[in-house]
Symmetry: C2
Subunit: 154 residues, 2 copies
Amino acid sequence: MDEIDRNITVALQLDGSAGLAELAKVAGLSVSATAERVKRLEERGVIRAWRADLDPVAAGCPLLVHILVTVAPGRDETAFRMAMRRQETVLECHAITGDWTYLLKVRLADLPALDAFLNDELRAQSGVQRVETLLAIATVKETSILPVAPATEE
Amino acid sequence: MDEIDRNITVALQLDGSAGLAELAKVAGLSVSATAERVKRLEERGVIRAWRADLDPVAAGCPLLVHILVTVAPGRDETAFRMAMRRQETVLECHAITGDWTYLLKVRLADLPALDAFLNDELRAQSGVQRVETLLAIATVKETSILPVAPATEE
DNA sequence: GCTGAAAACATCGCACG
DNA sequence: CGTGCGATGTTTTCAGC
């Protein structure tokens, strides 16, 4: 993970469709050397996948909500976690520090869909004690581009 | 946005490197018809970009925190929003309903980096009254794959 | 580990069903 | 609107440094 790899990963997060010729310029390397770097980044698991980035509104899920959940302590939370993983409206589910147990990020079509999710999917889960819904009024920023750290060499 | 477009967008979110031949099979269409669909989805802004999906740990930002922020009411929040947009450790920033004003999603290298972010970047912003940090202990699920709704035809 | 060129492949454009 | 073929450009491979 040297400076060249860092430049490559940043560039590929911004635009993965540019092609190796353009990427080689950014890296300051030849085309085949660049291709080898990219291949190694994939093999090492740094690059997990190549994805199309969709517009949430165009995809039909303009409503964004974060949901704080408290699950009864002492219970087996495996069932809850599996249920969250299965739900494709649940984009994220993190176990967190503080008063709450989980924080969810959920994308939905509209308020009826939110109502249905809260009642049928979330509160229906055994162990769920308390739920607080934070509705996003405006999204100031939403990116999946990670700041690649000048970190560990290998 | 018919069933075929839906299948295409789902497939391209899961793996955008497969190529048109493979995608045509999923779509049940010819290669060139599939290419035209993809092109139209890009033109319509449904597909915003093609990106490399990185592993956060390998990228050197294993620490994930969500931060709730209260900004003093009546103030001009443009400066705050611009500051959040500039920070590349801030992956998301949403204005939300409820007791808090904003919810941030932040990825960092370690706890010293979090300390620096809270003191130098966040609390340094004028108008910031209250901050609560939710540290992610475990990530049950984290995806950027949107559930493409069987929604509006065009 | 990087370079450069040749072979293999996928994409794009056009005429046709 | 979908299909198939040819032209173009890109990725992949390989010998050499």
